[in-house]
Symmetry: none
Subunit: 220 residues, 2 copies
DNA sequence: GGCGGCCTCCTCCTGGAGGAGGAGGTCGCC
DNA sequence: GGCGACCTCCTCCTCCAGGAGGAGGCCGCC
């Protein structure tokens, strides 16, 4: 089983270069090429590659848009984005579009073939220079610097457990059902949680749970 | 100029293994070891390493906390986190703490020394298996372009306003005070919000507000 | 003008939430 | 054994939340 690769770049010379590199690997097969995003889409439909090496800047349809369209395919190929510059927005947009990796075009041959194998097995790879920027940006997006001035060590396991269920919008009766307890017991735990955290009601408990990162959004 | 490395792991055997791998590289020098986070901090002060290989799970002070403290140093070392499992929370917490890389402990020797060089020159590296999860998570955090376009189109301005205050933990009476309304009116708006969104009570409204990104956990 | 959407406020009513104040149980520690 | 922390489950009580079913006023549109 070879890894079927499609090359997408508007510069024929670059495609040739990549083809030479990849073709010399026994487990990789370059099944086609495309010079813009639209051709890439039809090539993917026709050739069913496993991995697409995708340039960002291309005429007609750019790599980001093409990646986005590919993500809507049944059994879509993995997309490995290749950019000349490590520009943040390209990286972020591609990622949002569903790419599995980002490399710079000056990538060493060995790293390129490694990356093809990595994305093919469902993992992801990002060029180190890009990773740094990506992590910086990621860190800024994260729930916050977490000033752990007032942690919540005072909560017992049971109380913490109840808090988590509360934070998912469950009523006392539902929590009781979930934990196989009487509603009375749940009310006791809830009361203790509120008292310990200095809160008025379960609504504030939910707010605190999200603000402190005890529960995090986007689980759904 | 060699790269000065400090090994931090509570398992001496692992430290020895890493030491052997790194020591064989001409441009890398292992200047010290530490068995927990606290020792690591004093070692960094004394030895001024360029790169710290940091385990996550350790007694006394774990790797995440140690990384966070290191970030507050003048001219802090780069931290390369090593963990046994590719657990999401560790990754995210480490990055937030300021780590420059994240590797699994079963990393091939060659990749390890590469990673040390990469973080030393200010770039970053993440294990492919972890990268996939990280990117998925990152993608969810990003300002979603289309799914967020019409999350709650049916809410009127007033209802949306009430929802925001509800999501901050305010009671009906407090919302009424805030918006200069009667409590009755607020209750009407709340009821409408719940009905339109198909929710049971304000607790679920708060959960939805956070999950849909209508309100976001903030630094404050 | 009439109609519909939105905002405002009302009363009556039920149910759940949460506090007060218990009690019995297990477990680990001194 | 005694003590304290934790988990479990009571009862009585109050109060807010939320539904049902209104009503009047404003505004834009046909």
């Amino acid at each position: 089983m070879t890894i079927r690769v499609l090359l997408v770049d508007d510069q024929p010379l670059l495609r040739t270069g990549f083809r030479l590199i990849l073709q010399s690997e026994p487990d990789i097969e370059v099944v086609g090429e495309a010079g813009d995003g639209e051709v890439a889409l039809s090539q993917v439909r026709a050739l069913r590659p496993d991995v697409v090496l995708m340039d960002i800047r291309m005429p007609r349809m750019d790599g980001v848009e093409a990646t986005r369209r590919l993500a809507e395919f049944d059994d879509p190929p993995r997309v490995l984005v290749l950019t000349t510059y490590d520009l943040d927005e390209y990286v972020v947009d591609s990622l949002r579009a569903g790419a599995s990796g980002f490399l710079l075009k000056d990538v060493p041959a060995e790293d390129l073939v490694d990356a093809v194998r990595v994305v093919h097995r469902g993992e992801a790879v990002v060029a180190p220079r890009v990773t740094r920027r990506l992590l910086d940006r990621f860190a800024r997006l994260l729930p916050a610097p977490r000033t752990d001035d007032a942690p919540l060590p005072e909560l017992t396991d049971r109380e913490h457990q109840v808090l988590l269920l509360m934070a998912r919008g469950l009523s006392n009766a539902e929590i009781a059902g979930q934990l196989v307890l009487s509603e009375t017991t749940v009310k006791t735990h809830v009361s203790n949680v509120l008292m310990k955290l200095g809160l008025r009601d379960r609504v504030q408990a939910v707010v605190l749970a999200y603000e402190r990162g005890i529960v995090k959004p986007s689980t759904s």
